[in-house]
């Protein structure tokens, strides 16, 4: 008898027993009823006070002509979609979205690519455990600094006349006159450089930990199969790290939508608003200029864009994970 035609018995007992059908929904609880209510209720109250209430407040005011004075006088009035119209029709917003794309593409993507290369190089090339740890610590140091300090440091370093970066470029002969880092069209690059320096360590850490947890047996199988070097990297390591790299990207991606700190410290969005990002404008309009209604509209538009993009991304991720039987 071959394996295929061996008889198999049905698994009996697929119908639900009575006690299970009539089981009370809360029968699994072995604590007093108020305990779960309190454990869930208190955090919900706190969350409501500090998250839900302000958010609802923001939604409400995005449809009002609220500004500082009207807020204190309490006489704001409903203006429909005017705030959104003002934001979307302004060149300022459109420009900031272009800046955001530039930042995502050259900032976030570069961070993830650099972080991945550094992480895998560190793992594959450096054999000594102690050296790896030291290098990891060194590479992660920039991330330990507060972004505001990073901004100040890089502003110094990029100072056109006597900054360290220009001095180095001149001494190496890579440029023949000072680079004007804070001119229009260049200042966003200055922010991106500082941000890459600041945050590359995060994807590095994420990808490195992902690589460490890949099963060694798979690599041994690959060695016996005859795969080596770049083939292993391309066919095994990178595909298996796909989700991890995606998560590293999503983390940086989410940060991009609330990216204010370096912009504020290094360029204040200037010169002439050429380095503004959407979140910075929302901050500028709302907190500095007290155009609260318009700032709220900005925040909601940013929220909507990021929500759509992240939902699409998570859907993709779920599909990939499901195909591999992980989720």
């Amino acid at each position: 008898m071959s394996v295929a035609d061996m008889p198999n018995a049905e698994i009996p007992g697929a119908e639900m027993p009575d006690w299970f059908v009539h089981k009370k929904p809360r029968a699994n609880l072995i604590v007093a009823r108020w305990v779960p209510a309190a454990l869930v209720g208190l955090p919900v109250l706190v969350l409501f006070a500090i998250v839900v209430y302000p958010t609802v407040w923001m939604f409400y005011h995005s449809f009002q002509d609220t500004n500082m004075m009207r807020l204190f006088q309490g006489n704001w009035s409903f203006v429909g979609w005017d705030n959104f119209g003002a934001v979307l029709s302004s060149g300022r917003f459109g420009d900031s979205v272009v800046h955001l794309m530039q930042y995502l593409l050259f900032g976030c993507v570069l961070q993830v690519i650099l972080g991945t290369i550094l992480a895998l190089t560190l793992y594959e090339i450096v054999r000594q455990e102690w050296l790896r740890v030291i290098l990891l610590i060194v590479l992660v140091l920039p991330m330990m600094l507060p972004p505001s300090i990073v901004g100040v440091l890089w502003k110094f370093m990029l100072t056109p006349s006597n900054g360290a970066v220009n001095q180095a470029l001149l001494n190496l002969g890579l440029v023949d006159k000072h680079v004007e880092w804070f001119n229009a069209g260049v200042s966003l690059w200055a922010i991106i450089i500082a941000d890459v320096w600041n945050w590359t360590a995060l994807p590095l850490l994420i990808v490195y930990s992902g690589r460490v947890s890949l099963p060694p047996a798979v690599y041994e199988a690959a060695r016996v199969d005859g795969a080596k070097g770049w083939l292993v990297m391309r066919r095994i390591t990178l595909p298996m790290l796909k989700e991890v790299i995606a998560i590293a990207f999503i983390v940086r991606f989410m940060d991009a939508f609330k990216f204010v700190d370096l912009v504020y410290v290094m360029t204040s969005g200037g010169p002439a608003q050429t380095s503004e990002l959407p979140a910075y404008i929302a901050f500028q309009r709302g907190i500095r200029e007290f155009a609260i209604g318009e700032a709220a509209a900005y925040a909601i538009i940013i929220f909507a864009i990021s929500a759509v993009l992240i939902t699409l991304f998570l859907k993709y991720l779920k599909k990939v994970l499901k195909a591999q039987g992980i989720a």
Binding site: S2, V3, A4, M6, P215, A217, V218, E220, A221, A222, R223, V224, D225, G226, A227, K228, L231, R235, I236, P239, M240, K242, A323, Q324, G325, I326
Partner: protein, 368 residues
């Protein structure tokens, strides 16, 4: 001819794991290495596959010395205990991976993979990923990956140990019928003695440092070279009783320490045992050679002793009875029709001509 030959193989980390191991596996032979966990079975396979480097010794396949070759240059294929399938690749791609590494053309790969998949009856699963198939199917995929490579030596590391008993049995049958495995030298590692006895042309029992006994399944089971071998093969394990031989010639008796357990040594054994100086021995009696007698039944040719029941386990095909025979616990196999109560008196018939005598210190079988 592609025979696998291992001479004086050594490997150790903080202690020697494999110490001067010699082994020859002929082409077409299915050789099983059996031994307890942690004894170095997998290390042996990894040395042959080239995943570990040998500290000393030589490994040759078909006369070619491969001791220092990197894994991909060795004509071997290995399945891993954990299957080590690529989780992001389909079953098809998993099986195809050794061929991809060799840069075969697409049509040849497709044909080779489908052929192997048909053979292993996983042809309907080719589009699935490892996360979507069962343990037995994963195992077949892993096996497919090694089969498709058409190596000269197969290394199978506990290929079916982690599957449930029913699928294990199915796959065991499949191993019997896979002609592909019968054409090359196969080294199969397991800790399960039943697998070893069922599958192997020859089996090698691995002890500390190397193979303590090599032979056919029957030979190793019936004529274990040492107590270690005898204890490792067989479930329930052999009864091992420290005993003292007293008397002379036909009156030779075995007695266990401070107990009243003892039996006369059969003449054939006595003649052999008398040659050596061996007062202290370890007596080995397999549970199937201890029979529980029915009331009033007698057992000619057996030594009958009185005992009482300590533990009785009714298993699927038979029962296992542990009885206290004058201060010594003996395990016996019984048929299922009977039932026993704790402390119930029973009479046990020892098949004394099937008893083994091992040296008390070295554990060597004194009858060989």
């Amino acid at each position: 001819m592609a025979r696998l030959q291992i001479e004086g193989l050594c490997k150790g980390w903080d202690f020697p794991v494999i110490d001067r191991l010699d082994l020859t596996v002929e082409e077409g032979e299915f050789f099983i290495v059996v031994g307890p966990s942690g004894i170095g079975k997998t290390t042996l396979l990894r040395l042959i596959a080239g995943l570990e480097s040998a500290d000393a010794g030589r490994i040759t396949i078909g006369g070619q010395d491969i001791t220092t070759l990197p894994p991909y240059k060795r004509p071997v294929a290995m399945t891993f205990e954990s299957y080590a399938l690529y989780p992001h690749l389909s079953v098809f791609e998993n099986i195809a991976s050794p061929l991809r590494a060799r840069r075969l053309d697409k049509a040849a790969i497709r044909k080779a993979v489908t052929d192997v998949a048909k053979l292993l009856r996983i042809e309907t699963l080719l589009d699935r990923r490892p996360g979507e198939i069962s343990g037995g199917q994963k195992q077949r995929t892993a096996l497919g990956r090694t089969l498709v490579a058409e190596p000269q030596v197969f290394l199978l590391d506990e290929p079916i140990s982690h599957l449930d008993a029913k699928i294990r049995h199915e796959l065991r049958l499949q191993f019997h019928s896979l002609e592909e495995l019968r054409r090359v030298a196969t080294l199969y590692v397991t800790h399960d003695y039943a697998e070893a006895l069922s599958l192997g042309d020859r089996i090698g029992v691995m002890g500390h440092g190397g193979l303590v006994q090599i032979g056919t399944a029957r030979d190793v089971f019936m004529r274990p070279r040492s107590l270690f071998v005898a204890q490792h093969l067989g479930q329930p394990a052999i009864n091992a009783v420290a005993a003292r031989l007293t008397g002379e010639g036909a009156a030779l008796q075995a007695h266990a320490g401070n107990t009243s357990f003892g039996f006369p040594v059969v003449a054939a054994h006595a003649a052999v045992l008398a040659r050596g100086d061996c007062g202290q021995v370890t007596v080995g009696i397999r549970p199937q050679h201890v029979r529980v007698l029915h009331n009033g039944e007698d057992a000619p040719g057996h030594h009958v002793i009185d005992a009482h029941v300590e533990i009785y386990e009714a298993l699927g095909a038979n029962g296992v009875l542990v009885a206290d025979a004058g201060g010594v616990n003996l395990t016996a196999l019984t048929s299922l029709e009977r039932d026993f109560a704790h402390r119930q008196p029973v009479r046990l018939a020892l098949q004394t001509d099937s008893v083994f005598y091992f040296h008390a210190d070295s554990g060597d079988n004194l009858l060989l």
